[in-house]
Structure formats: structure tokens, C-alpha cells
């Protein structure tokens, strides 16, 4: 299952339950797409929580509400990222609490350093140089290896440069606007660290708003963000990033993000109750959408996005 062999079938369409069961194993290094309140892979995150797949190392640039819910469910051992927060909605409270009480390992980088690690990973290079991190406490103390090392630039004697190690997640989860059954994907709008992370990953599960035909992909190949070669599973899930936004489709739901944040800030039992009600209490993501938002709310979020663009 977790070999280097990617899925080679033409039809990779699976349910979220099937895709997660097949490609996310306990102890995996899990790459997360999205940023803050934009295009977080919530349907796939909920499914990991529903299947209680634990001991995960969660990696990304900004880790947000999805990562925080995995932490709340007790499924995360470690994170490697540039930040954990939802900006105006506050920090990722469960993550913060777990770091402060020592139950979560955390490795901090800058966002560019994380992108550089995925960039090395996607190109099959062992590491990437950067001039970020220099002089800061994000660099490990002298002698500590692993996270980053500083060397003299071989071409510019006397110039220091930091090297950060390649990162190739075992599996990444990303929510996109469109995909075809074979896994060609189209990301519309901002793409964060996702192109680099997807190509660096050993396996990739995509959820999408809309399934399109391979004919449509072939008619406009210049629109393809990532070709099918990198993708193992395609899950069709409209509103799959809710309550975060999907560019061109729907805005974020501030009320529901705030409701989660309130529970997360309070911690147990409020956040356990949130997960029981909205994740474990729902057999599918569609059930969650009906419970948390309802069709009128979802239509309003779609309209809000239309008006904005």
C-alpha cells in the first residue's frame, strides 16, 4: 500500500473514506494544503479524524483549522511548519495548548524555508539553500543537526547560507476546484505551497469541487496545475473546504470558524463536544454540511464569493 508505486489506474475516483483508509496510515508524515481560512482540506481531515488515524506528523506552511482539529482529536505527534494560526480568528488553540503542555513536538521554520524544503523534495534534491533563518532562533543551536545547517557559500567565500533538508510527505491532502477522474487537477486562484508539496509527496489525495472529463483537460492543457502522474485518489466533494473558502466558489463561514475557535480555545470538553457533534457524529461530510451550515447558508456563501470577484 505505501510503496513508492503511485496509483496508475485511469479512474482514481474514491469516496473520502476509501481514499483515507487506503493512503493514510498511522504514523505517516501528512502534508496539508490550504492556508488560514482558504481552501483547507476539511472533508479529508474529517475523514482522518473519523477513522482515528494517529501518531501523525503534520507538515505544511501555515497550518490552520484542519491541523488543529487533528490535534484536538489526539492524532498528532509532531508538526513541522512556518505557523499555526487563523489570523483574525486567533491562533490554533489546541495546537498551542498541546505544545505548552509538552504533548506535541514542534519544529518551527519560516514559510519560505518550508517552501524550500518542498521545492527540494519535488526536484529530488537532498536540500535547498536559503538566506532566510540566518541569525534567528529558528536556526538550531550550533552542533545540533537535522533541522538546518549553515555553511559557507562555496562560490562566495565568507558568505553564509542556510541549508534546509528536503521534505517528501508520505501523503498529502489538498482541496482543489477541479479534477478529472485520472487526477489531473486545476487550482484556481492562489495556490500557496501546494504545487511544490504535491509534487514532493509520495501519495496525494485530492478532493475537488467539481469533477471534469479528461476530454475537457485535454482541450485546455494550459489550465492544468498538476498532471495526473502525482495523484493517487480523487474525491468529489463540493464545499469540501467548508468552513474555509474556495476561491471562485464560496467564501469562508466566519460564524462557524468562530464557533470552532471558541470551542478550541476553551479546550476539553467543549472541543471534544465539537468533534463528537460535527465529525464523529456525521457519517459523511455532506451530513456535516447539512448540520453546520444548511443549504441556504451554503448558497449565501457562494453568492458572497460571486459578489466579491
Amino acid at each position: 500500500m505505501m510503496s513508492e508505486t503511485r496509483q496508475r489506474t485511469r479512474d482514481k475516483v474514491l469516496t473520502a473514506a476509501e481514499a483515507v483508509a487506503r493512503y493514510v496510515r498511522p504514523g505517516a508524515v501528512l502534508g496539508m494544503g490550504g492556508q488560514n481560512i482558504g481552501r483547507c482540506p476539511m472533508a479529508l481531515t474529517h475523514e482522518i479524524i473519523r477513522q482515528r488515524i494517529g501518531r501523525l506528523t503534520v507538515v505544511g506552511c501555515n497550518l490552520s483549522i484542519g491541523m488543529d482539529q487533528l490535534v484536538a482529536a489526539g492524532l498528532v505527534r509532531r508538526t513541522e511548519s512556518g505557523s499555526g494560526n487563523l489570523e483574525r480568528f486567533g491562533v490554533t488553540f489546541c495546537w498551542r495548548r498541546a505544545i505548552e503542555n509538552g504533548s506535541l513536538e514542534v519544529e518551527d521554520y519560516s514559510h519560505l524555508a518550508m517552501v524550500s524544503r518542498f521545492l527540494a523534495g519535488e526536484m529530488g534534491a537532498p536540500f535547498m539553500p536559503t538566506r532566510s533563518l540566518l541569525g534567528s532562533d529558528l536556526l538550531p543551536a550550533t552542533g545540533e543537526a537535522g533541522k538546518a545547517v549553515v555553511i559557507e557559500d562555496p562560490w562566495n567565500p565568507g558568505q553564509r547560507v542556510a541549508l534546509v533538508p528536503a521534505l517528501q510527505p508520505e501523503v498529502s491532502i489538498v482541496h482543489v476546484q477541479r479534477a478529472d477522474p485520472s487526477g489531473n487537477i486545476i487550482i484556481e486562484g492562489f495556490a500557496t505551497h501546494e504545487p511544490e508539496m504535491i509534487r514532493a509527496s509520495h501519495h496525494v489525495i485530492i478532493s475537488c469541487e467539481e469533477l471534469v472529463s479528461t476530454e475537457e483537460i485535454r482541450a485546455h492543457p494550459e489550465r492544468t496545475t498538476i498532471p495526473f502522474l502525482y495523484v493517487d485518489a480523487v474525491v468529489v466533494q463540493p464545499y469540501g473546504a467548508y468552513p474555509t473558502s474556495t476561491y471562485g466558489h464560496y467564501d469562508y463561514d466566519a460564524a462557524h470558524v468562530a464557533a470552532y475557535q471558541e470551542a478550541a480555545r476553551e479546550g476539553s470538553p467543549a472541543v471534544d463536544e465539537y468533534l463528537r457533534r460535527y465529525v464523529w457524529g456525521c457519517a459523511t461530510f455532506d451530513e456535516y454540511l447539512a448540520l453546520a451550515a444548511g443549504s441556504e447558508r451554503l448558497i449565501a456563501l457562494r453568492r458572497a464569493m460571486e459578489e466579491m470577484l
Binding site: 541569525g135 532562533d137 476561491y247 470577484l309
Partner: protein
Amino acid sequence: MTPASSPAGPDHSRQELMVIEAARDLRDGDIVFVGTGLPMLATTLAQRTHAPNVVMVIESGVIAPQVRPTPISVSDPKVMHRAVKLGTLREVLGCLLQRGMIDVGFLGGAQIDRFANINSTVVGRGSTQRRLPGSGGANDMASHCRRLLIITHHERRRFPERCDYVTSPGFLDGPGGRERAGLSPDFAVTVVTDLAVLENDPQTCALRIAALMPGVTVEEVLAEIGFRPEVAPQVRTVASPTPDQLRLLRDELDPERVYLKAEESATTSRR
């Protein structure tokens, strides 16, 4: 912050003037790497007033948008309005910022020390430690920008002698610190608060008081700083806002008072 009783005058709050003063610091044509919140509010104000050709670059990959009021995140669709390009983190943090194409990095509040080092990772030690969001793109901005502009509510705990953790490099340990670390020494820092404007002394690299908000004394500023800053030879008084600046800020850029009145919750949400 009670606008009516503020010594800054009856017609505006110090917080409003802080945003307006930070906007004045941007020059027309500057390419600015902007965080959300007060930095974006001030940058939008600059674009609508004296600096229409300021170019915004936003960390989520957004290049040169015409931001719609009032975004609350770098991934808020409002920051993407009429952008010329919606790209990737690599494009903006790597191909613009690290590449050396950004003039000003503009950040919101955090912990800032005497040598303008910034902490957004962890404050306190041991059992009293409090975890913050982390670097995000802040370390990259401080490492690669020529000018760093910081806007923050003025509180003593935000200005320690030395940060508990240096997330983003200012002048590190003082003169020569950036060169020794491998960073460009071509660097300047301005901190705009609701009490004063602090700038690095070009010789000592330490932050010093460069300007005061109207009605604020040097003593009041000193009482709210955890180190003893020098006072610039000619301390100026921050100019009062024009009616146009206030109208834009209140009626167009933050009409729902997402940032302007609720600043306290903006800062406490990080705690």
C-alpha cells in the same frame, strides 16, 4: 483608546493616527510585502492618498491586488480582488522577497526588542511560556527587505530589552550583527505605535524615539518601553490627520470597525 477623551484631539483616536502615520511612511512606487490587519489597512490608505502606485504583495501568492475592505486574512478572497496574479508562496516569498525585489516589509504587532529583533514564536519561559503563531513569512521579510515597517499597539511587555526568542532578525546583537549572520546590512526599521515612532539609530542600530504622537511626552513613551531608548536629536510631532484621511479610513477602508475599534481583541487573540 477612547477617541473622545484622547489627548490626541477630540476628532480622532491615537490608533487612527497610528495607521495614518504608518501609511505616510510608504513612498509612491514602493513594492510592499504586506501582512493583514493594520499593515494592510495602512497600505490601502497610502494607495488611496499620496501613494497610488504602491504595489502590494501578499504572502498567499497575491500580486498587486486592489484590496476590497476589509480583509481579515492573507487568504481572504477580499485580498485577491483585481490582482494581476494569484500565484504561490514560492513566487512571492522566493522569487520576489528573497530575490531582493521588495522595498518594504510591513508587519503587525509582536514583541520587538532594543535592536528591533522580533518575536512571534514564544514568550516567557518554563511554566509561564506562551506559544504564539510562529514566523509565517515574518522571518523571510526581516531577512530580505531593505526597510521593515512595524505597526503595533504600544505596551511595555511588547518592548523588552531582548526578545525571549528571535523569530525575525532585526539588527541581532547590534552593529555588524546582520553581516556576521550572513544577512544584508542594507536595512532600516521603523516602528509606528499609538504613542510614538521609533527608528533605528544608523550608528548604534538601537531603536530610538524619532517622533511623538500629539500630546504624548517622552516620559510616557519611556514608561511603556522595557529598555531605555535614546531620543533622536530632533524629535518631531506626528502631524494630525487630514479630514480626507479620516474619512477614507472610517467610511471606506474599515467601515465595520474590524480593526480600528476592536484592536484590543486583535492583540488578545494572539495570547
